[in-house]
Amino acid sequence: MKSLPPNPWPWREGSVVVILLLSLGWLGLAAPSFFKPAALWPWLTSVAPVLLIATGMFFVIVGRQIDISVGSQFAWCSVLAGEAASAGWPWPGILASALLAGLALGALNGLLVAGFKLPSIVVTLATMVTLRESLRAWREGEFVRDLPDSFQWFGLGQSLGQCWVIAAALLLWMILWIASVRLSVFRWVYAVGSNAEAARLAGLRPARITFGLFAFMGLLTGLAATLNAVRFTDVDPKTGAGLELQAIAAVVVGGVSISGGRGRLWGVLAGVLLLACLPSALVFLKWPPHWEKAIQGLIILTAVAAEGVHRARSRGRED
């Protein structure tokens, strides 16, 4: 068997894509300047890191866990990358420090969840608060400044740098998408997420897979933090605020079941894009900014409710 047995009809993911296309179409009519290259490129560049985080979150959620500490991990990785850069390290060193930091933080989560068998929401709540407050205690809000010129855009200049950031995220997402359908290790994630006990009896090691999920999430966070940091010339330690909400919302809107075991990565791409165009759309449509949270909440609830209604109607679907 080459790939997972497909969903009978990707109703859920398909609907998100349709809504996304409709929204973009409407935006194109109501506020065409959204699609001007000068607006589109920076927007896509800002979405790239979120896509990576959402991808990592996808695997975590499919594995029936959750990670609400990604925002704080993101901030730490960004600051450490910035510090490495300002200490004069070359690019491989900077990248390594961000990736290793993310990996370490993710592994910590994984150890607590898989090793101690603690619930992931509580563990990541604790790590989120601890990481955030400790970073605040260290930086007190101060930017990491005076980074060398080679930091921004990897030293490649703006247009090439933007291409690279977007391409890197997209490429990685595509690779992971194909891998998630083809590689057995990802099939195991679906298995563990569906029914960990059955997976264990079938010979898998749920604890190791769960650990791997969090470590992988951390790794992707480190990468995303780097891709985000190179867009600027200094690092704001408050970066990443609200990132976990964005990622989880994108994954859920994209059709991934929070009860684990189901979901497709291309739904996540649609979810990310749909939620990411909201803040900018408000500016272009000239709507007042205080509607942003309400609309975001409505999108999430509608997406989830629609799934619920669909599931309630179709018979024999167990979750």
Binding site: A31, S33, F34, K36, A38, A39, P42, W43, S46, E133, R136, R139, E140, G141, E142, F143, R145, Q158, N228, R231, F232, T233, D234, D236, P237, K238, T239, A241, G242, P279, S280, V283, F284, K286, P289, H290
Partner: protein
């Protein structure tokens, strides 16, 4: 289990009786060691802001000069109730003076009045509480002064006609709303030809300010000036202008010189408005301690504050001075 409950309760009672036996007075006791050094509790609006770090440096300097113990703490979360909690804890702890940068005037004034009733002298700095809840306000610049300076600089860049956009931290931030009102009032009075095209919050995040600025530049191409009134937004907006390649758009704002040196020198940000934040912290400490010692009384018109020399006292406001405009010519002289 019940034994443990009882045990914990007994511990508490013993502790209570021990403490109340030794400190029964309601007035604040000695703040520090037996040598009688005073304790000043100072609170910024929020701790995670580089603006307040620079204020703290001045405050620490003054505390050292005066030989007082400085307690610096404040909310790390945006919830308005957090400032109250900190003040209430300090009342319990007993401090010799309070210096507070008020985030929520209505809410915090109640707690300050309670402190006042306990005999703790209170000074507000950076933003005010209700006047009856504190002795003095250490004012770096009035909201009018700030709003007018911002609008004047904007007009200097735009001319008599044009459109600008404001990027603020959050729509609920009280002081920024006050500044916005002053900006609007001044605009209406002096520069009716200039219009505000958009107002966007950035949640005090530089990255978000960048995104909002980029969106504004593209959604409102006629906007030629971005006015960023919270300190992370100024470099965020400037970077957005730089990356957009638009030479016709400029940025002004309230920010720290160090964050903006690069953009000021490149001409993207012709003016950054602020005041010497370290001096603000320094003055606040001096004023609070002087009020506590009684050397600064109501009705004074002049106040001697250490290395700052003699400053004007207008009513119950001690004025640091007018807002300062950092430009390409002078920004290198400052390091905060």
């Amino acid at each position: 289990m019940r034994m443990l409950c009882a045990g914990v309760f007994l511990l508490w009672i013993c502790g209570c009786s021990r403490e109340s036996a030794t400190s029964k007075k309601t007035a604040p006791s000695d703040g520090g060691s037996a040598s009688g050094s005073m304790t000043l509790a100072m609170m910024p609006k929020s701790k995670g802001n580089a603006y307040f770090i620079s204020c703290r440096k001045g405050a620490e300097e003054a505390a050292q000069e005066l030989g007082v113990k400085l307690l610096w703490d404040g909310p790390t979360e945006p919830d308005p109730a957090k400032q109250n909690e900190v003040v209430e804890t300090w009342i319990t702890r007993g401090v010799d003076a309070l210096a507070v940068a008020v985030e929520n005037r209505g809410g915090l004034s109640t707690a300050l009045r309670k402190a006042k009733a306990r005999g703790i002298p209170i000074v507000t700095w950076d933003s005010d509480a209700d006047p009856d809840s504190r002795l003095f306000l250490v004012n770096q610049a009035t909201p009018q002064g700030i709003g007018q300076t911002l609008m004047d600089e904007a007009a200097r860049i735009l001319g008599s006609q044009g459109e600008f956009a404001i990027i603020t931290a959050s729509l609920t931030a009280a002081n920024m709303n006050e500044w916005r009102r002053e900006i609007e009032a001044h605009r209406q009075a002096r520069y009716p030809g200039i219009k505000m095209a958009a107002l966007r919050p950035c949640d005090d995040l530089k990255d978000k300010a960048f995104a909002e600025a980029t969106a504004i530049l593209n959604a409102h191409p006629q906007v030629k000036l971005l006015m960023a009134i919270c300190s992370p937004a100024v470099p965020g907006a400037s970077e957005a202008v730089k990356q957009s390649g638009r030479q016709d758009v400029k940025v002004v704002g309230l920010g720290l010189p160090n964050d903006n040196k690069r953009y000021v020198k490149e001409g993207i940000t012709p003016a950054v408005i602020l005041w010497n934040t370290a001096d603000l912290g320094y003055l606040s400490v001096y004023a609070a301690i002087a009020a506590a010692k009684g050397s600064l009384k109501a009705g004074a018109t002049r106040f001697q504050a250490g290395r700052l020399g003699e400053l004007e006292v207008r009513g119950d406001q001690i004025l640091l001075g007018k807002p300062f405009v950092f430009t390409r010519e002078n920004i290198d002289q400052f390091d905060f």
